[in-house]
Assembly symmetry: C2
């Protein structure tokens, strides 16, 4: 075992070259074990999926936590519940004699709320195995107990099938597979399973104060999210942050008759339109001065990283019915390296049958800014406020009073909602990152898809930021999993491959 345990975590090319010779059989070993234990792996997943797991459902959340403690104990962890103000964190530690590295493996056991009526099955917590996607005619597999071979394209339908219970089951299976083959992990393992991720993980950062020593590690590995649509193993190094706000332009105190006053009384909906239009050009680039200033130019390595991601934009365009992406950001991977300025909603009086012929009293744009590692919410909001003021607006914090209305022609309010979430990004040159890349490359004989940053935001970012971890995402489920929606599903081939991928990580 020790022969292949310490693998150089240095540069990728070196690792890849070494590994292809040094450890040709981990994938084969684990796959063989998986092939002969399909029943057991799927059964454990189905059992876990049968426990409802909405964050607000305290009794069932605790049933999940108890089940997970038991699952971890079976794999040699010393498990416990870390109690918080909210749902407990399920925690486990597995020390490996001689290991000098400690990995904190993160996943979550809560799921998005469900609307059972929208599902194509009776209950999102009574898992159904189908022979394919339900919207492509996949049929229910009736007698699971007698199935000896699960086809790769079969799917398990249930809430959290993909997000995020299957990575936990795959982790357990990977440990079983290693053990059956006489292999042990090459790192000390700590596992933390979040019970409130879909409710923005409010207890995770506070837990640091209470359980700090248990949560420290050389790197955090995030077992969450879908892999690249190509089906190749995927590693994610970051995610964008977010700040949301409402921008209101004020008009007359009450809606004014569009005939009596049309042409004479300024219209706040038009003013909002002009203001929004002044913030971005037709290419989709933000024109607020300094908005992109903090973003550092791509290095040759960054560029290589972005260019290395298989382009699946044609599929996206077709799925969404869009002819062309923004001219300013034609490549999706590049687009998500920059902060955004997005209008997520507009409202002013009424449209459709309820519309009244008035000059509205106000117009509101709900907006969000996605942050990248180099940008902060405070800085970009300040730049935006400066821009709005330069368009002639007086910014208020509340409803304008009569004196304010009499003094200022153009009045607006920018109200930031709640707290912002920072972006995080780990360098792919970080030693732990190169070790993970190396391990996956060795095992598969080819490099994984490397995602410099996700476009979206994850609650774990706060936790990563607080502990300054190198953070490495290892998403293992299918991209077309209906995550957060009805008919969430997991492709079984992805589950089995996840066991191999996680085994590779454990042996890095």
């Amino acid at each position: 075992m020790t022969r292949i345990r310490h693998v150089c975590p240095a540069v990728l090319t070196f690792c890849a070259a070494v590994s292809l010779n040094a450890q040709p059989d981990l994938r084969t070993i684990v796959k063989a074990w998986v092939d002969s234990h399909q029943q057991q792996i799927v059964a454990e997943l189905i059992q876990l999926l049968s426990i409802p797991n909405i964050a607000a459902d305290r009794p069932n959340i605790r049933r999940n936590a108890v089940a997970l403690v038991s699952m971890l104990r079976q794999r040699g962890f010393t498990p416990e519940l870390l109690e918080t103000e909210g749902n407990p964190l399920v925690y486990g530690e597995l020390r490996v004699p001689g290991a000098s590295r400690t990995l904190l493996l993160y996943a979550h056991y809560d799921g998005q709320p469900v609307e059972p009526k929208s599902w194509k099955q009776e209950d999102p917590f009574s898992p159904v195995v189908r022979t394919g996607r339900v919207d492509q005619g996949g049929q229910k597999v009736a007698d699971l107990a007698s199935v000896t071979k699960f086809e790769d394209d079969w799917r398990v339908y249930a809430r959290s099938a993909s997000d995020d219970k299957s990575p936990i089951v795959a982790l357990c299976a990977a440990l079983d597979a290693l053990k059956a083959s006489g292999l042990v992990p090459t790192s000390n393992l700590r596992v933390v399973l979040d019970g409130e991720e879909e409710a923005s993980s409010p207890s995770l950062v506070p837990a640091i104060g209470r359980y700090g020593q248990k949560l420290r590690a050389d790197a955090i590995i995030i077992l969450d999210g879908p892999g690249h649509s190509s089906g190749r193993p995927t590693i994610v190094f970051g995610a964008r942050g977010i700040v949301t706000f409402d921008l209101t332009v004020f008009g007359p105190k009450v809606g004014a008759h569009s005939g009596n006053y049309g042409n004479w009384m300024p219209n706040p909906a038009l003013r909002l339109a002009s203001l929004l239009s002044s913030m971005k050009n037709d290419d989709g680039r933000v024109t607020v001065p300094g908005f992109y200033d903090a973003v550092t130019p791509f290095s040759a390595a960054d560029r290589a990283l972005l260019d290395g991601v298989p382009d699946d934009s044609e599929r996206m365009l077709k799925t969404f019915g869009i002819a062309k992406p923004e001219r300013g950001f034609p490549k999706l991977q590049e687009a998500v390296q920059y902060p955004t300025l997005n209008i997520r909603g507009l409202a002013s009086s009424h449209v459709g049958p309820g519309a009244r012929t008035i000059i509205p009293d106000r117009a509101v744009a709900a907006m969000d800014i996605r942050l990248v590692k180099e940008t902060t919410a405070a800085d970009l909001i300040e730049k935006l406020q400066g821009h709005i003021r330069r368009q002639g607006y007086h910014l208020v914090g509340d409803e304008p009073d009569d004196a304010t209305r009499a003094e200022h022609d153009k009045i607006a309010r920018l109200a930031v909602s709640g707290s912002s979430t920072r972006a995080y990004r780990t360098s792919p040159d970080d030693p732990q990152a190169t070790a993970v890349i190396g391990a996956i490359t060795r095992t598969y004989g080819a490099p994984p898809v490397l995602i410099r940053t996700l476009g979206g935001t994850v609650p774990i970012a706060q936790f990563i930021d607080a502990l300054s971890f190198p953070a490495i995402g290892l998403p293992v489920v299918n991209f077309d999993n209906n995550q957060h929606e009805e008919n969430e599903n997991l492709r079984i081939g992805h589950l089995f491959e996840a066991v191999v991928t996680i085994a590779a990580l454990l042996r890095m």
Copy 2:
């Protein structure tokens, strides 16, 4: 009587000069009659206001119509109900021996729908007399039967108190006053009372085919709407028309994650904002090429007319809490001489607590164009469509299909709602118009406020257009009457003065 009956209907200056000497006492005569018949006038109004008059309430509408027939018969009219597909028109004719002119007097007896809970009285159809505005502490006058003197600032609160039953009562009182003084009208009179004005008068134009001869006249006099806020007698020569439409810019087929796709997927809310912004400049002038082309320059007489209207814009600005009017149209009277392009509503996904961090699937602006006499809906909509196409949009009539989405980067829909209403405008040099101006000037010893065109739109415009009448509006109620809203009211001083004003018209 005949001594003062025929007064020259020629040019205003001549009439004014003559009349100040020729007929100094009509106002005195009528005022004296009104002073001694206050009880009777107010009682007749309250009786009429006590009959509910929502256009959709067929049984009560007919009770109103029957009561009106009786009121007209008492004043010597030959009344009848002109049945239509909807509510009946109440019609009456009063021929005057020797009169060579026929006036069609228009008013309406239906009222806006009510929400009784919002009123400061039990029932909008149980009129209440108050000693002033209810929002300024006006107290209920308890025993109306014993009131011998109604103060000018008292108010009658009820639905249709101002809009539009009081002009009908004032017309009846004016005829009573003339009769009591041994005077007769100088024109043959035809009265048509609309029972569906607040429902857009759908039966008025069709009635022309069925009752054409009864509806013809040398001019139509519209007894509707509020007089100028100065309290001076007011004559209105026109109203703007209107066309309404929804403008939709299409985005992805379904809302797309603003993190995963932000910067890369075009945002329809931003595109709509830019498109709207391209239609008007910061001064409030429409920048759609040719939009104002049809509007003829003001003549010196037009300019004098506009400049002659007392400026009450300071009051309007204060009421609405607006610091400044549009730079492009600083004077309200000038502003309403031009067509508008107004955003009356905006919608795209959600704002506020329900907002989701997405790129919305579409953004919609509900809009209206107010038309002036020289502009047509078809022409301005066509110019707007041309402008939208020049901004790179493909215009669709329906939801875009996949092929359309794949072919066109920018897709929008401009959907005109229902039928448009044309503007109308009578020249103040029209002989009937100068006659009315002359009559009012004579009676009051000063010219009335002359409004070239109202900013708003009136359903009667269709009827005026169909019969090519010179149309002269004689609005007699107070401007602050809460028309169409809760707590609609009539200032009693305006009711009494309306009797004088209408008497002047009848003696023109």
